[in-house]
């Protein structure tokens, strides 16, 4: 991995102002960076802020209601202070995104070819004929059979797995430096998920792009990511190289998550459960946001927000009780 990251997020905070005047703290003091060619997994449950973070990178949050502060440095630019015109030139070009729902993210009234060609012409220019050739080449790269014929089909003729391949082909159209994939396989059957994950690994090896993979599935993370960031209630609670996170997690929430998934490689009589509820993000708690559900909680946890501390090289945890091994030895 190179020394200077491709994308670097510093102290990102996102607040949503509701119609009723309520303010929701969606994301708080998030620091992240991804090096060229690396894959970062962003993990967490519904409402933890992982998708909002990715939309902020893409500049896709509504300006009226979202208040964003901090910095997102990408390729020498601060994306939060970049004019809209420049952002439009970046999106679909050097920054690309794949969404969860391949059924709704393609336009049903244009052929898949039109939609890929539009992206190429918008960013690369050139003739329509050469763009069409490139589109066929891209469809071939994502293993769509007989792409010369498929290119003229409408999205409704394709299955879910095929549509997700088309989305990936479109995202790759202009050789992005950063690809954000938001739950790219969640809507797919397991055998198709395996095909798409294999495809993402293959494409990463070929293009050297950096990938941010947003998912709730820790199995997917273990298979494709180099580094993982776990989010809870708008904050990153743990960040680690993938091996460390799975062998020696340093935040109680991560321990709970790992213990709560049924696994093929481990038979548990009872699965771990995380009792209680996610805090109300209109009034986040003063101390650690996980304190109310944490079995290892101390008085100090509820007094002040815990800092993100480095437990071992590259392994950060937002827990004052880390390293957690001390608690069980």
């Amino acid at each position: 991995m190179s020394a200077s990251p491709l994308i670097e997020i510093r102290d990102l905070r996102i607040r949503f102002h509701g119609d009723d005047g309520r303010i929701t703290h969606a994301v708080d003091s998030v620091d992240l960076s991804v090096a060229n060619g690396a894959t970062l997994g962003l993990v967490g449950e519904s409402g933890c802020g992982k998708s909002v973070t990715s939309l902020a990178i893409m500049g896709l949050l509504p300006k009226q209601s979202a208040e964003i502060s901090g910095a997102i440095r990408f390729d020498g630019l601060d994306l939060l202070r970049t004019p809209d015109q420049t952002l439009r030139n970046l999106r679909g070009n050097r920054l690309a995104m794949i969404f969860q729902e391949p059924m709704t993210s393609l336009n049903p009234s244009f052929t898949i070819g039109d939609q890929i060609i539009e992206t190429i012409l918008r960013h690369r220019g050139g003739s329509r004929k050469s763009a069409r050739e490139r589109a066929i080449e891209l469809l071939r790269r994502v293993h769509i059979p007989s792409p010369e014929r498929r290119i003229d089909e409408y999205p409704h003729k394709l299955s879910g797995g095929m549509r997700q391949r088309v989305m990936i082909a479109m995202a790759l159209a202009c050789d992005p430096r950063l690809l954000i994939a938001d739950e790219p396989t969640t809507a797919l059957d397991v055998t198709l998920q395996a095909q798409i994950l294999e495809l993402m690994r293959e494409l990463k090896a070929a293009s050297g792009a950096a990938i941010i993979l947003i998912t709730h599935d820790l199995g997917v993370v273990a298979e494709v990511c180099d580094e993982v960031a776990v989010m809870y209630a708008g904050e990153i609670v743990e960040r680690a190289p993938v091996d460390d996170l799975f062998s020696a997690p340093q935040h109680p929430y991560t321990v709970g998550l790992l213990g709560s998934i049924p696994r093929l490689d481990h038979r548990a009589e009872q699965l771990a459960t995380i009792e209680g509820m996610v805090p109300n993000m209109a009034q986040p708690p003063a101390g650690c946001r996980f304190a109310a559900r944490c079995p290892f909680v101390l008085d100090a946890c509820t007094k002040a927000p815990p800092p993100l501390i480095e437990v071992s090289p590259g392994h950060l945890s937002r827990c004052i009780r880390a390293p957690l091994e001390r608690l069980v030895s």
């Binding site: 709730h216 998934i261 459960t273």
Partner: protein
């Protein structure tokens, strides 16, 4: 005797009709499915979208009428029941759906939702219904005072508890769980799975557990039936199936599940191509278009589901010749020693002695 016996179940839906209403094309959703289920046990129906697993579950309850086959529940032939007898049968078999946001009536309070089945089957005298509702709510780990609330005031996991409570209200012998945890977050998922197991132990329920997730199935099932395009391709005791899957499709499904274990050493069977349509299933073995072990015979002749001495049945011409499945099986020991200790400590402390999943839950803060 088995609680439920299903033999040769067939359901073809009409996909297209001519101008005069003659059927032109059929989706062969379920095509000759047989299985049986003992009281107090769990049978998992596993397969991908469109394999017919949900259709089977609805046929078993006679929510839709089969074209052929037989369903016997507790010795009675379900398909010959008249409407009154059918209604009485519904007391003994209930269903929980995938989406707890769609399966509860938003205009009824939880109390009304749970009282309705009691009144419908006239199980409890009106004066005692409130007490019974409170009892059922406690059984699924919710506080009785929540009976006055509406479904929108609950989180997804709590709603699924209410759906389970509604199914339990009539004291059934069989509950069909149709993807009951697929719509839930991982930490909530484990609460519901623990609750289902706990209730089974306590009340002696039988489950038909419909799921696409083999890791969940491994955790909960006693017996597994793997379905592909309307047919069962392999069925066995859960331990036997997970220890040595035989059908190439079962192997592919197993190996496709990402393991939460980085650098796990195991081979993956990547299936090529798409899932064929049930409108026009392939001739011969319905899996032959995607099977890595396909031979000429598979294209022409449909294999029968044949059981060996132990009851492990496989529908594959090449069962005896297939290589060992050891390479695709996950190595045991997914938990590092440190993680195992931490998870144990985590569980011990949160549960505080009460069985997991049935600690009483208070009201949810409304999350919008």
């Amino acid at each position: 005797m088995a609680l439920l016996e299903v033999t040769g179940l067939v359901k073809h839906f009409v996909a297209e009709r001519s101008l005069f209403g003659r059927a032109l094309a059929h989706v062969k959703a379920v095509d000759g499915v047989s299985f049986s289920l003992e009281a107090g046990k769990t049978l998992a129906l596993v397969g991908e979208s469109g394999c017919g697993k949900s259709t089977v579950s609805r046929l078993v309850l006679r929510l839709i009428e089969p074209d052929a086959g037989m369903v016997r529940f507790d010795g009675r032939d379900l398909l010959s029941l008249d409407p009154n007898a059918l209604r009485a049968f519904r007391r003994e078999a209930q269903i929980i759906f995938q989406d707890p946001y769609a399966s509860l009536n938003p205009r009824m309070t939880v109390g009304q939702i749970l009282t309705e089945p009691l009144a419908l089957h006239d199980l409890v005298p009106p004066a005692e219904r409130r007490a019974r509702v409170a009892e059922i709510l406690r059984l699924v780990g919710l506080e009785p005072r929540l009976a006055r609330r509406y479904p929108h005031e609950f989180s997804g996991g709590q709603r699924q508890r209410i759906a389970i409570a509604r199914a339990l209200a009539v004291e059934p012998k069989l509950i069909i769980c149709d993807e009951p945890v697929s719509a839930l977050d991982v930490s909530i998922r484990s609460q519901i799975l623990n609750l289902l197991r706990e209730l089974q132990d306590r009340l002696g329920l039988a489950y038909i557990f419909v799921s696409h997730d083999l890791a969940v199935v491994k955790h909960i099932a006693d017996h597994v039936a793997v379905m592909n395009l309307g047919q069962i391709v392999e069925t066995a005791e859960a331990d036997a199936l997970f220890a040595s899957p035989r059908h190439p499709y079962s192997r592919a499904l197993l190996s496709a599940i990402p393991l939460p274990q980085p650098k796990a050493k195991r081979a993956t069977v990547l299936l090529e191509g798409e899932i064929p349509s049930a409108l026009n299933p392939p001739a011969g073995c319905r899996f032959h278009t995607r099977c890595p072990f396909v031979i000429e015979r598979c294209r022409n002749e449909a294999p029968a589901l044949l059981a060996d001495g132990s009851g492990h049945a496989t529908a594959c011409h090449r069962t005896a010749e297939l290589p060992s499945a050891d390479a695709i099986l996950p190595a045991a020991g997914g938990f590092s020693p440190a993680l195992a200790k931490l998870v144990a400590a985590f569980s011990r402390k949160t549960e505080g002695g009460s069985p997991a999943g049935v600690g009483i839950q208070g009201a949810a803060p409304t999350t919008t």
